[in-house]
Symmetry: C2
Subunit: 162 residues, 2 copies
């Protein structure tokens, strides 16, 4: 399962790793919470939405984007609060969590750590054999994070057993 | 209930508002999570610890310190993840959450928005009629946040009904 964390829009995806580098898309969507609601209400809604996805799809692992201190302070903090709730949802279900930086995701998917949104969307559409580009951007990002983990996981595993 | 959010040490306190400005201490403590554990494990432990406090003391309201982007980036992010989990714990139990900035807490408790740690600890010890200063600092901070809310809540209520 790939998650692009956010409080207003949280990208969610589920993919199935196949042979070699083959990856099959299973589900993609966005969990939204109203920006005029209180923080507590928004975190509760997000927690329930992601919990339903986890209970429905029972992923083996959750890959999530790591938050950085960039852009609007209040947005960064909201996203960081959301990450806490999302990681907790996985931990409560015993699902391991891996975090990747945006440039790790870009590098893994497109070969270029500074690929732009359009390049990333094109790559994801091609990799997953989709008939059209996933929308909105948060959904495409969630798929990219899932693909990043599928391709990097075997390497991480080899490193940890080495 | 007053909470000084943190992932390594989270200050927790429960007070009972009495007549006028009188406040009685009920409980104070610190929830700790091991800094060498994974984020998911730490958030799970924190969530369970604060959940137990909430279930044991059934507070009417939770007051929490608002996190700012200051100091070490990774510490700020960890604290922000912790806040997400703490606010969620209250929301899941239907307990309203109020957030205060550090200077709001200092101002409310000591009359000075820039009071130092020692001044704050002295004030809290006096206000709550404690025989000795609460320790560690996170516990004292959690009491200060609770006192801040008790004294500010009537004002906030008057403003919202006005």
């Amino acid at each position: 399962m790939g998650i692009d964390p956010g409080l207003t829009r949280c990208g969610l995806s589920v993919v199935q790793a196949g042979r070699g580098r083959q990856i099959l898309p299973v589900a993609v969507g966005v969990a939204r919470t109203p920006s005029d609601a209180e923080l507590a209400e928004r975190l509760l809604r997000l927690s329930r939405a992601v919990g339903e996805w986890m209970d429905d799809y029972r992923p083996d692992v959750v890959a999530m984007e790591r938050v950085f201190e960039r852009g609007n302070v209040s947005t960064v903090m909201h996203t960081a609060h959301a990450v806490g709730v999302l990681v907790l949802a996985a931990a409560e279900r015993g699902i391991p969590v891996h975090q990747y930086t945006p440039s790790e995701v870009k590098k893994a998917v497109s070969g270029n750590g500074r690929a732009d949104k359009k390049q990333m969307t094109n790559m994801i559409t091609r990799i997953l054999g989709l008939s059209e580009a996933p929308k909105p951007a948060d959904a495409a990002d969630a798929l990219a994070i899932a693909v990043c983990h599928c391709w990097r996981a075997p390497l991480i595993e080899r490193m940890s057993t080495a």
